[in-house]
Amino acid sequence: MATFLPQFQSIKSSFAHIVLSVEDVSDLWPTIKKGFEERLPFKRASLNNKTRNPVLVDELPAEFILTTDARLRSRFPQEQSLFWFREPYATIVLVTCEDLDEFKNILKPRLKLIVQNDDREWFIVYVSKAPAHNDQATKMAKKVFAKLEVDFSSKKRERCCKLDIHGPDPNFWDDLEGKIMECIRNTLDRRILFYEEEIRKLSEQRFMPVWNFCNFFILKESLAFMFEVAHLHEDALREYDELELCYLETVNMAGKQRDFGGMEKGDDQATLLDSGKKALAQIVQDDSFREFEFRQYLFSCQAKLLFKLKRPFEVASRGYSFIISFSGALALHESMLPFCMREVWVITACLALIGATASNYEDGLAAPDVEKEFYRVQGELHTLCHTKFMRLGHLVGYGSDIERSPVNSASLSMLPWPKPAVWPPLPPDASSEVLAKEKMILQESPRLKHFGIQRKPLPLEPSVLLREANRRRASLSAGNMSDLFDGRPRSGDGDSSGTPSAVQRVSNVSMSRTLSSPGNFDGSIDRPMRLAEIFVAAEHALRNTISDAELWKSLSSVEEFEKKYLDLSKGAANNYHRSWWKRHGVVLDGEIAAVHHKHENYDLAANLYEKVCALYAGEGWENLLAEVLPNLAECQKILSDQAGYLSSCVKLLSLDKGLFLPKERQAFQSEVVRLAHSEMEHPVPLDVSSLITFSSNQGPPLELCDGDPGTLTVALWSGFPDDITLESLSVMLTATNSNDEGAKAIKSSEAIVLMPGRNNITVSLPPQKPGSYVLGALTGQIGQLRFRSHSFSKGGPADTDDFMSFEKPTRPVLKVARPRSLVDLAAAVSSALLMNETQWVGIIVKPINYSLKGAVLHIDTGPGLSIAEKHEIEIEKHEFGANNTDHSDNPPDNHSPVSADVKQLSLEDGKINLPDWTSNITSVLWIPLKAISHGLAEGTPAGTVSQRQSIVDGLRTIALRLDFGVSHNQTFEKTVAVHFTDPFYVTTRVADKCSDGTLLLQVILQSQVKASLTVSDAWLDLQDGFAHTGKGDGRPVSKFFPLIVSSKSRAGILFSICVVDTPAKDGEELDPISVLNIRYTISGDRNLGAHSPVTKELTGPENETDPLTFRSALVLQRPVLDPCFAVGFLPLPSNGLRVGQLVTMKWRVERLKDSGKDVDSDDVDEVLYEVNVNSENWMVAGRKRGYTSLSTKQGSIIVISILCLPLVAGYVRPPQLGLPDVDKANISCNPPGPHLVCVLPPAFSSSYCVPAA
């Protein structure tokens, strides 16, 4: 059957549609052909697939062929069964007849003969030629058609249809199409069954020796082809898949050594998408096919069907897998294949697949996931092609033009060298080429990396090519190789061309490059090849292998090589990006950048490098970043992108220290410093967050009082390898409690030199608002360059247990307390001090958990108070309570190094500088002050309402202002009240009125101070009208001096005086005041109250001080002897007073003496009276003031009645009657009126309660 292969191929190539045969019995076809062919291709054909499921096929092409056509006539029966798929799928019998007899006698037997073959699906189209207006003819046609139906249609199947030429029935065409479809479907089903049966039979013999794959293939592909022709592509694909599986099974069957193929010219070009490249008959081998061609053929058939199914993405993914697996198969046969056949094939296969799938793919054709996968596969195909292409380039000597990047290194260094059976030998007469290669090798200089980075270049070779090539040479045995590398002379073949110098030369790649001399090759086959020779040899071999002119062109020169290299890189990168494999894409962007970099397209290179660096930096892959970043920096430097360059330098510095040598890191730093100190065109702030990190110092945050400045210590970690000078540095403080307030910059004034590693920086902090603050960011300047860091140190505080979180909540670094009282000033003594004497006024200065170091107290005395400036001011430690020192348990003042001694201070311009030892302890400041009161103290006569000196009179104020704090920023102001008083309060009373007119005047002294007063002497200077009895020196009767009056106690002194008439002297005023003089001394403690006045000479408290003199004015009144009138208050009505109820107030005025003026006459005297009343409480009905007549005789009485109305309830003062014209001394109140009367509330009104009569 295998002999039918060529025929099968030609049938396949010439057969493209389903064939429908037309049996034209009555020569009608030329008439109706047009109408029939207009129906093609069939829309919406319904066919059954292999599993007998209906499948709708859009656009089924078909062809009508007359049975008399030569194509259908010349076939052998055997062919027919094998290539049954090309036989007609339906037979349409065209007949016409207008006579029943003719039909019965001629047409019917003929038709019977035609349709007797059961194999064919047929139906009859009766064509009526009867014109529409000819009823006779029409009737006849109907009769004939009816007869036809009776004879040929059955109940099961309608086999006849009628076409009216002159009046076509619109239903006819549908009817026709339906019948054709039915025929095709039935034929197809039958043929599928046939093929399945045949295939099954063959499959059963698979493991028999007679098994022939070619036969199986022809059957299987026939079936597949039939499906394809019927547009059942899915089924066709399935057949090819099965065929492939079956083939792989047979090809891998052990024991059958077959020719692999691939040895022919042009085989290096993949035919995986071109099924017709090579005839199948050419690749037959024994009972099967050659693997090399046949697998590609099968894939091409599958790909064709997949493209027809609009699944280019599947072609790509299947293709990629195919290339990988086929490459493996090529590797197995590599030793037999031409040199680098595998690589070349993979390149051409990838390129073909990329081209075909990309051109067949339209965006949006597939679901997003599928699309993503498609682009990924495209990327993979590009990458695979890229790798193999690089390998070829490397073999012909372009290795130095391949970027030694991690991706290339990883791809190539793990990809084994080609393994030909024998490494291609150097062709004869290639010396000039070798010379050229040598020159190329010599000329190439390793590109120096920026910053003088010296690094071992990444390898591009799995093993040294020189060694590998020489090892695989036919004439060198393994023993030779060991000689080659061990440096020992070879012992085997006695050929001494490998001189020691030559041996050493090849022992190192770099040495061989530099030392190989062009004149040294002599073509000796046993001499190890030099690198240039290897390149030339490989190039020649590749020229034989590669048949694709385009590919060869790409390898012909460095420029072409780079162009292709760039194309492939770009293709891979683009596709990876479209597939969202950003890492793969970006890595390849880096390759493109490297090429641009090499060609000095720095702009493009920098753009791409930035992408690469951003990815690596973003994900923290520092090893990879360290490879690319110097290149980016170099591009940026050349492009004068200072900002970018600086940022790159900073990034380089912040990479792991182990990635660069110290020298290199110093180079980075020097670049930063150089730029920072140069004139930058567009100065930009530089982010050094990764390089300079900072944190607060460990321990609690700095706590400050409101308004206080402070110093903040910040720990800075410098990642610079050397010291670096910062011209300025600012720390941003951010308040944690308020959102509205932005960060405040705290600037360090002087330049700072940062050492590598940890530095402690101290910045002075101006007063801050209350709240807690965290470190925000760090800004500063290096030269002209402003930098900024906002990252907190990872290595700083010990609480960085969470390695992942870089943005950990920061600890407060500063806490500014809310305003509180920091100090208190108070008067030390609350009791009164002596007036008009210099007294120590104590001011307690009490710091409240706050140091008063350097505090200054401003003292401003109020009116009536002055500082005795002659005296020093004293300060001493304040003892809380007198008993404190008695507690022996407490060690005396061990908390303070200061002695409790009194220290003198001096006042300057109203200011006192407090000594430092008082800064943390409560101290008392003693200020000598003198309160001045110009008035004389007044005594009070007995019996009168006490008119003691008001306390307010003795109050004086001292305005104090304390400036304190670290920089005198805090102020505390307070006005302290100090109470001054006279030592005594004096009252007098007449103790006894003797019959001889002597009056015993008792003077009572009330001590007003908390001190013991000693009266040493007292005398009274009497006013006019009074005189001392006895000696008259004004001294008291009894002399018990010194009289000691203790604190708050009273003492009395008796004076004996008498009333005398003092003749009025002309022009002299009578002295109206008596003055009491008291000489006394005071002994008191300034800690308690009044004390001895401050004297200039401090002679000590024990010494007697000069007695003081106290003078008090007394007013003595002559006794009232003769009242003239008596005013008596008459009782009020007994029913009491009520608000709103009129009441009559009555006073009785009685004349006690005869009026001195005119005693004889009976005249009445007019007496002026006046009612004093509080108008808020009383309403007076009538006159308040008036004259009333009273007889001038003694005993005359008059009653004055005033009608009053109480206005308020309660105890109120009643109206008082006064006689303004009469001296008070001459009025006797008898009986005296009440001080208060009770006024009841108004009576309740009962008017609402009484029922109406």
């Binding site: 290194s409 793990m414 494999w581 890492r583 793969h584 994900e619 923290g620 892959w621 990879l624």
Partner: protein, 85 residues
Amino acid sequence: MASTACFMIVSKNDIPIYEAEVGTVPKKEDAAHQHQFILHAALDIVQDTAWNTSAMFLKSIDRFNDLVVSVYVTAGHILSFVMSD
């Protein structure tokens, strides 16, 4: 037989946080780059694969010539890569 093996832990932000060469092949200077490169590229595959399976151990998700990359994905998306030949 000498073997190459590299173990690496990558945080959920794709940041490498631990790396160890655990193979018996003596460490080469350039191997670090290569291994990092391969594992970094494998992240692309992990990002596609990890969310499409309930398995935490993704066996041989990537192959680079002779090196096979496997990854264990924790619930918190911490990746533990093992690369070996």
